[in-house]
Amino acid sequence: MSSAVDQSSTARSTTVFHQQFGITDRLIERCLAAALERGGDFAELFFESTASNGIGVDEGIVKSASQSHSMGCGVRVLSGERTGYSYTDELTEEKLLHAARTAALIAHSVATAGVQGLRAAPSHDLYPAVTTDVEIAQKLQLVQRADRAARAYDPRIVQVRASFSDEVRHILVVASDGTYASDVQPLSRFSVGVIAKDPAADGGKGASASGTSGGGGRRDFSWYTTERTPEHYAQEAARQAILQLTAQPAPAGEMPVVLGPGWPGVLIHEAVGHGLEADFNRKKQSAFAGLMGQRVGTDKVTVADNGTMPNRRGSLNVDDEGVPTANNVLIEKGMLCRYMSDKLSAKMMGTRSTGSGRRESYASIPMPRMTNTYMLPGEDDPADILRSVQNGIYAVNFSGGSVDITNGKFVFAANEAYLIEDGKVTAPVKGVMLIGDGATALTRVSMVGHDLALDEGVGTCGKKGQGVPVCVGAPTLKLDHMTVGGTGR
């Protein structure tokens, strides 16, 4: 076995794991050796320590405040396509070696790849390193301002909850392929939820509705006092709830659909993003398997997954396998050109990792995942796009979506949508559910606006039980027809 840690390299002993938890390079070397002692061809240690805080106002009272800390180390051993995994939340030599030997049980060959000279990975600098050294009194003011602003918006707002949460996640990834990468990842989020009630609505029967808003990212605290204030989020949540009080049941059937810019990009995430993750394609489980280089959408469709956007919720300097993130173009002018890959799928498919290996925590095995996924802007004027529709739906906000990647069928539920009648946006409708299949949806994209926007920073993507923060985005775009679920007409 070759010698492990290259002592000449920089920035090694500066991580929180060295300083607070006494993890030495010598211990890391011993753990990697133990993980490979049965002949695995790749071994990896993933150290993680996350401190998080939350404060919330509810019914006009600052009711909750919390702090939590979670840490641990996951050890992974690969032997061909086989993965052995074990983790410990005690960072002692005894527990770490035990985890390494447990993960090693997956392998049973004589040959071993050994440990390459460890070297610090190149990295980006996409976010402020620490954002939590803010007085809690300032966070308290944020949630109180949101409460006041939502109530002031309309007397029919009867319930308001607002919360602010932030965390700092330290990671250190060391692997036998020479990876030695650390990162400090801040993440914060502001959320407002309201309930509106109008006893006079619906001919005296009364009506209730809810509205939510929020946003954030890997940002400095000043973002919430200058760019996206509590009033911004509170008024948006209240506006949605009041609007829903008068929304009519949505029509049902096939019709043209125009999606507004920003969060409706969740369609791109569900309809094609998941289907282009390398693991599903390597195992021939995706509706997109075997379509590399082929046309999957109209020439107006270009889709990217870009982990390198400063301060965004889905951005990362390095992924959870220590690989620098990249701007990966997945579909270019309708042609499928790249899958998102982690190290294992890249090895199996003879390609390179695209910096897409992510995991929820040290207790989870990494997988190919999205970061910030969006459709690139086109040349159409959004007003022209709406004018081109005789009868259809204009959907501007969604509560969420999901997909069955095997047949490509996806659904997503709108929480703000309107009828389009004779090229004009008219009445708000409720209960809009859109359903389609990914491959067909992209062939029906006939107009793409010049107004690309990313969402405010609220998304969490779930896959095989693991949630990771992501962004989605899109310009205004038109699909010639989609199935709209509803109870009206």
Partner: protein, 459 residues
């Protein structure tokens, strides 16, 4: 797997004592410890093997009627000091909530452990690792061997896990219990000239002795994947729906979320102000029972010795022949609604207790599923829904769906890429039949139900 059984409870008690010494007026601590073995076999080869142990503590303190919470999985002395100090400091920052506080000591459950309930069986770890892998291999093999159209799979899995949980508080409650779990599952992928379809099936039990065989689970998974092949859209229309029990479980489960006391006091429930009213068809009787035994010595999946506040679990009828009888509450929510706790506190590691169900179910009817299908002239047997289009404030219900089309009482082919929509308030009233196929595969369950008057959006 031997372990001093009171260690978890001792740690919880010690953290409460520290918080009280640090100046809290009341405190409550939770300690969880667990271990898990999980393996996945894909195309006959082991794909992943995971083995792990974990433990963590959570603390909630009160400073009068101000409250805050902290949690950590670092049990070092320095970390425990931070846990206590942080909670006490944070609680000074929050504002007084007149309803906050621990339950009265007189309310606590007399049961303080899981003895006699049948929550823990050490046989989940009795199999050597190689035999556990064989279980995962066998469940996949059973699914893949069922039909030549199944040549791919997302793997067969076997999981075994055990956990300890302890709660202690400053009003004298100390309780703990141990649970065991084992599970088998498989996700086969079927393919023919019409395309690829996946479906899956799984089973879980507290003891290996009650776990279905790999053959049973695999066969069912294969059947479900195969019947989706050749699926097509249907026309937009109003139609009768028969909901398979896996789907009706969710629709009936929405009743629990709507009678959740928290949603009720927030005006966020379609059933706020509806106590004593007819909210569903007279065929509907819904029960939440936190004390149910599947058989003597074997607890239901939602059965525990005490709830997350340390109060006794209870059996209550939520809806009796269509009439709403009660809301469900924990201690905090009960105070808000001027009722008594129904023993539905659900305590995670961090934060205040939420509200969770015991064993929540719709009482079965007398008709078999086959008889129910046979009565349908034209309609949809819904086997899966996709998405999250349920609004409990308004009752609006709109979901992606797939299933089998029924014509003259017979299945005529698979259906997909449609949505089904209605309003839950109408759907509950329009349940015209309840089947007799209630089975508990988890803590909530429902027989199949037939609902009239819903809208399908399709081609």
């Amino acid at each position: 797997m031997t372990k001093e059984r009171t260690l978890t409870a001792q740690l919880a008690q010690e953290i409460v004592d520290r918080a009280m010494r640090a100046g809290a007026t009341d405190a409550e601590a939770v300690v969880v410890e667990g271990d898990e073995f999980h393996t996945k076999v894909r195309l006959g080869q082991v794909e992943t093997l995971t083995e792990s142990q974990s433990r963590a503590v959570g603390l909630r303190v009160f400073m009068g009627q101000r409250t805050a919470s902290t949690s950590t999985n670092d049990l070092s002395e320095a970390s425990l000091q931070r846990l206590v100090k942080g909670a006490v400091e944070l609680s000074r920052i929050t504002e007084e909530d007149p309803f906050a506080g621990l339950p009265d000591a007189s309310e606590f459950s007399e049961r303080r452990n899981g003895d006699g309930l049948g929550l823990f069986f050490d046989d989940v770890y009795s199999l050597p690792a190689q035999e556990r892998i064989e279980m995962a291999r066998a469940v996949e093999a059973a699914a893949m061997g069922a039909d030549v159209r199944i040549q791919n799979s997302d793997g067969g899995t076997f999981t075994a896990a055990t956990s300890w949980r302890a709660i202690a508080n400053s009003r004298g409650f100390v309780g703990e219990y141990r649970k065991s779990y084992c599970g088998l599952g498989v996700t086969p992928i079927a393919q023919d000239e019409s395309g690829m379809q996946r479906d899956g099936w799984s089973h879980a039990a507290r003891t290996l002795a009650k776990l279905e065989t790999p053959e049973e689970v695999g066969r069912e998974a294969a059947k479900r994947a195969l019947r989706r092949l050749g699926a097509r859209k249907v026309k937009t229309q109003r139609a009768t729906m028969v909901f398979d029990r896996n789907v009706s479980r969710g629709i009936i489960g929405d009743i629990f979320d709507a009678v959740n006391g928290e949603a009720v006091y927030r005006h966020a429930s379609m059933f706020a102000d509806k106590l004593g009213e007819q909210i569903a068809s007279p065929l509907i009787t819904v029960v939440d029972d936190g004390t149910m035994m599947l058989e003597p010595g074997l607890a239901g999946f939602g059965t525990l010795p005490f709830d997350g506040d340390g109060l006794p679990m209870q059996r209550k009828v939520i809806v009796d022949k269509g009439v709403l009888q009660t809301y469900v509450a924990n201690t905090y929510t009960a105070r808000k609604l001027k009722m008594r706790s129904t023993g539905n506190a659900s305590r995670g590691l961090a934060g205040a207790p939420g509200i969770g169900s015991g064993n929540f179910y719709l009482e079965p009817g007398t008709q078999s599923l086959r008889e129910m299908i046979a009565e349908v002239q034209s309609g949809l047997y819904v086997t899966e829904t996709l998405g999250s289009g349920v609004n409990l404030v308004t009752g609006d219900y709109s979901q992606g769906a797939s299933g089998l089309w029924i014509e003259n009482g017979e299945f005529t082919g698979a259906v997909e890429e449609i949505t089904i929509a209605g309003n839950l308030k109408d759907m509950y009233k329009n349940i015209v039949a309840v089947a007799n196929d209630l089975t508990f595969r988890g803590s909530s369950a429902s027989p199949a139900i037939r609902v009239e008057g819903m809208t399908i959006a399709g081609a």
